[in-house]
Subunit: 251 residues, 2 copies
Amino acid sequence: MISKNQIKLITSLSQKKSRDESGLFVAEGTKLITDLLPAFVPHLFFSTTEWLQKNKELITLQPEIVSEAELHKISSLKTPQGVLAVFRKPTYTFSAGALTSRLSLALDNVQDPGNLGTIIRIADWFGIRDIFCSEYTVDAFGPKTVQATMGALARVNVHQVQLPCFLKELPVSLPVYGTFMDGKDIYTETLEPNGIIVMGNEGRGISPEVEQFVSSRLLIPNYPKGEPTSESLNVSVATALVCGEFRRRRY
Amino acid sequence: MISKNQIKLITSLSQKKSRDESGLFVAEGTKLITDLLPAFVPHLFFSTTEWLQKNKELITLQPEIVSEAELHKISSLKTPQGVLAVFRKPTYTFSAGALTSRLSLALDNVQDPGNLGTIIRIADWFGIRDIFCSEYTVDAFGPKTVQATMGALARVNVHQVQLPCFLKELPVSLPVYGTFMDGKDIYTETLEPNGIIVMGNEGRGISPEVEQFVSSRLLIPNYPKGEPTSESLNVSVATALVCGEFRRRRY
């Protein structure tokens, strides 16, 4: 049985304000919740009897049993997946020193929750541990982003930072990469095994305040190379191509 | 002034059945419509006065002027973009012979309209002219896919085919590539400049009926390579990484 206060809390968590105030976020679906349970502290955990019977071997924590009708009341999905959990948002720390030995991502005002979720999955796939999000990048703990991460949120640390200040305070020797239309061909440029890859906003790209800290301007060439084009790449697709090329050099 | 019959027609085009029966589809937004106008036959073309004043140099065809309120009635967007057009769906032909000299994509039941739209953009970026969609792949002319293509639909030929039959009838010498968890590292395998790249369904991957025609099984390695992972890549992200690697070898 879900209480009225619990319903009120869970539905309020679709709003960033409530997530910030409570420090909580919602996740739904088997893959997502079984990935997140070992990584985050669950605050509430509900499932239907059917879900529990089917998935009890995947979990060590006992959910509170609710009916399909109750789940509908708290779910933000058209078709609830039989399981919903509220987790405490993690707080990560990092040292500028540790970043100098690895590859990290920084996002300059990425606006679409689906893009952010996909980028978190890409980071997970390519072994990138930290993503530094500018203040106006969409919230990584919003329901659409959380769903789009497919559980990768459990393995990637998403930090919110004042991006220009963050980049300014990094050791000057650490390369900062960004993609620009006038950048140099990523497939022939030298790519270090460590550094920060900055990806920009969907419409406007990297902002001037952040651009000043980019030390290496890259371009993903279209094909045939150099042919005039009115095309562009989605920011998550561009992130994949850039991360893929950095990693290909080190396999 | 938009007639009642026009409103009825336009709103009906959100349904695949109506698009199939009428042979028409809807597009909204400046970039999309200015990209599609030279490529497709417009059946209806509406804009507000404000839109026309701002964009008249981008178009050679005169739109019918409508009010914001009228545009709201026919738009499927929360915030209509000042311009909407109905186009005749193109009918493309192809010869198996022509395909032997180039790289093409085939989609085996890709379900998400946003993924299909993004894949069409990726094809456009990487100079891939033809995409062969299985019968149950989501319709390329649905409103969400059309919007997600950002105009790339004007430059990429999307065909609907019976995918196993299509692959069966190709010259046996033409390589057919697919990605599988047990495939061989794409970064070290031989990749021909021509062939078909098959991408599978979001959840189930490539179906057995299609898999039998795949002559080269590829894997996009995660990083660090070979480490056990519960991650997966979004199908549009995987498409970008595969197409990017084929093209990188030929730049």
